[in-house]
Subunit: 491 residues, 2 copies
């Protein structure tokens, strides 16, 4: 293994993961327990995710309105957090607490936001008075702190970055519609079509729902080590917050009513999903749609004479690619690696490690023949193309890579999805880290707990596209099953 090499996945998946994050310069451990530093390469990846999600959030909505961004305070007075009973019970134990400010002890402790329902809804109560103010559709990009004990780069850190949508509606129906629109049209669509990670969309069991929600919806991806990853959640909050926070509106008849609310979020954890869905033993593999660098041009030359000629040609290729306004338009999306102190082989390995989707090689012989060599990161496939086809071929191949990554991940999920009605086989499958195991379940929390005790697996969700259970029996208690649900160990 070279200095820059990574531990193989087979040897130790967890070390492989850390190696990818650290050695590609995505992130680093910070000098604060459980926190990380997102380095420029990782942050460029986050910016790509953020900008596409932000566009989708701002161009969707309900009732003729669109979601709008806003910003609420980081610090939440204890009394506000405490107003919804389940919420404080769920979150207080994992809060960071500010007790001193300006050199003096505070009269009331301030919690660093573990999520922003309470501070936002205090303001909603002030802003909403009539049905004309509804729906109110707010989104916030912010940092969040939760005092996690066991942390892991991107997947679970004390502080993380996320977006949190918070909406208020006149009817429960509209709130439910919003909640599911976000789950399906924003989150699921984004995960599958941009991050190339297939997901199961469904609702969480009673045990696993958000503290204060009526129903929590989730998208669940399957990682290469066959563990599930919760990639985003959308909550139907009903009137659980509007009542304690007194968020009311006068309806068209003049009656005072409580609003119906939703909240929903995805975080920097998505970067962990991208890494664990696509990467390999050579390093990171990034879907072109979010890769900060779409392609790298590596000039190949020996003598000084060759160098000038090849670099001139390489610059021309770069300009041709940069002239395209769509997929390739970001300023740093095409990189010409003209560093003189490294040999081509070293550069190939480095850009493979960093997951750049496409490598473009150009040398004196290629120039003579009017050719360029393209090498795909996902398959390692090389192909020689005529120089004049560069732009169209690069676009086509990037599209193919995007599709291929999704297909591969979908195929992996199919191969690692099992169905059983037998608890012994179920336990064997889970113990062998087989992936998603669909089994009939009565819907009861006791059975869910028993599975978790026995196997560490949990009900990942009750899928929206639920399967017929036709008289099947719960795999634990043997009573009539309500659903067939995917169980798995999870991050």
């Amino acid at each position: 293994m070279s200095e820059k090499g990574v531990t193989s996945r087979e040897e130790d998946y967890s070390s492989w993961y850390s190696d990818i994050v650290l050695k590609t310069g995505l992130a680093d451990y910070a000098p604060v327990r459980g926190c990380m530093v997102i380095r420029p390469y990782g942050f460029a990846l986050w910016e790509a995710i953020q900008s596409e999600l932000d566009r989708r959030i701002k161009t969707t909505g309900i009732g003729g309105r669109y979601h709008q961004n806003a910003y609420f305070p980081l610090l939440i007075p204890k009394s506000l957090l405490a107003r919804e009973a389940e919420h404080i019970e769920g979150f207080a134990p994992e809060c960071a607490v500010v007790t001193h400010g300006g050199g003096k002890p505070l009269e009331e402790p301030l919690y660093i936001r573990p999520t922003s329902e309470t501070i936002m809804y205090t303001m909603f109560a002030k802003w909403i008075s009539s049905w004309r103010d509804l729906p109110l559709l707010i989104n916030q990009w912010a940092n969040i702190v939760r005092w996690e004990l066991r942390t892991r780069l991107f997947l679970r850190t004390l502080e993380f970055l996320w977006q949190e949508g918070h909406t208020a509606h006149a009817t429960h129906e509209e709130a439910q519609e919003e909640c599911l629109m976000v789950l399906n049209e924003i989150y699921r669509n984004f995960a599958e079509n941009v991050l190339a990670v297939p997901v199961i969309a469904g609702r969480k069991s009673e045990r696993q729902k958000f503290a204060g929600a009526v129903t929590t919806y989730t998208i669940e991806g399957l990682m290469q080590d066959c563990k599930a990853l919760q990639m985003g959640t959308s909550h139907d909050l009903g009137q659980n917050f509007s009542k304690p926070f007194e968020v009311r509106f006068q309806d068209e008849k003049g009656e005072l009513r409580y609003v119906w609310q939703t909240s929903w979020g995805v975080s920097t954890r998505l970067i962990g999903a991208v890494i664990m869905a696509h990467s390999d033993n050579k390093g990171l593999v990034l879907p072109p749609k979010v890769a900060p660098m779409k392609a790298v041009i590596v000039p190949i030359y020996k003598s000084g004479d060759e160098k000038e000629k090849v670099l001139t040609e390489a610059s021309k290729l770069k300009e041709i690619l940069k002239s395209s306004v769509d997929l390739l338009s970001a300023p740093s999306s095409i990189y010409l690696d003209d560093r003189d102190q490294y040999k081509p082989g070293f550069k190939f390995a480095e850009w493979e490690l960093r997951g750049v989707p496409l490598r473009i090689e150009i040398g004196p012989r290629d120039i003579e023949r009017g050719k360029v060599t393209l090498v795909r990161r996902d398959t390692g496939e090389r192909q020689e193309i005529p120089k004049q086809n560069l732009l169209s071929n690069v676009k086509e191949i990037l599209d193919e890579i995007q599709k291929n990554l999704f297909e591969k991940a979908l195929c992996f999920r199919k191969e690692h999805t099992f169905r059983t009605e037998d608890y012994e086989e179920f336990k064997r499958l889970i113990e062998n880290d087989s992936g998603f195991v669909y089994s009939p379940w009565c819907g009861g929390s006791e059975c869910e707990d028993k599975v978790q005790e026995d196997t560490k697996a949990t009900v990942r969700c009750i899928p929206l596209e639920s399967e017929e259970v036709k008289g099947a029996k719960c795999i634990v208690c043997g009573k009539p099953a309500k659903f067939s649900v995917p169980f798995a160990k999870a991050y």
Copy 2:
């Protein structure tokens, strides 16, 4: 004064300012002392500022490299903050301190970042080893907490949003060059050409420099109440941080040397500057380059027949304007106000209040005559134009408004800039809130302190384009003056 009206500037400038912020929906007071909520309209303004600044930051740099965004932790262990003596002395008294996490007291208190030098440079020490790693050019968009006692919406809040650039260089010359490039090419240029606020660029006196800096540079604007506003700072940190944080590199000869550093930032305070530089008694006035809505179309009709015809025509105008890809390209930049429950006059007042640069009126008579009426927010000027010239005229007028706002602000500054070598006159000018008063100064801190005690005015900066002092005498002590500097009361 209508419900939505604002206090006049002459009556009470401070209430006028709060009215503008609150009644236009830019921001609201939060249920946490000294904090604010940035509402969608204010946040859209911040996003416009942020996106243009981000573009400028990412496309500038030094030594063949560009600034790159990254993200560092919110929480800083006390021991890290304490490593640079002046820095902790300056910042500790205004820090918010986390003493509990996960339900337990912490062994070491964590400070919420009041600025990120200490946490960043701990990482720089880890990342930098050779001259090849330099310059390191990092920028971060983040929230900051400083325990201010007297707060004011946007201008000084406990929590605020900002960008902070942090760079490391092999030589002091390069660090100085970076520091001044940021001040002039990014900050000054942005303030004048985008925010339309003329600024004086200069360096701060010893008394006023950043805790830990060798030299602090600043841009200073003049607000309508003749108070100065510090709008951005850029610090030459010398080796003051690289030594305690051991940020070292091996130079080309193999010698181990400390890096030279800079840091620089602007914040949501810029929104305060925009408000106080351009707005009037009717409400907000926004420069077109950062206005979230560039133009609003108000349809004017009476009968139901007219309504349909006018709304159809208004939608066409909107589509024509949206087809333009430059100034008008943002999704919400052109708004068609088709709300049926309000009369045109009400809408005019509302969009004037909210500072939309241009109003487009369209009624049945305009349609018949193939005309459209344009009304400028900055001058109130109305003009009728042929419909087919709409796009080009709107662009031209928006450009004119942008220029006019800058010219007006520059003219205001000229009218409120005075020069005196007589301390009695100086005191009178300051007492009357005259604006910038340039006077000769010996450069000594005692004289600076005396002026502040006598008048509350401070040396705003020692201008980069310094004026000859030809044997003039310090306005306080009478000794030979080193500089002619602008004094003013400031926010």
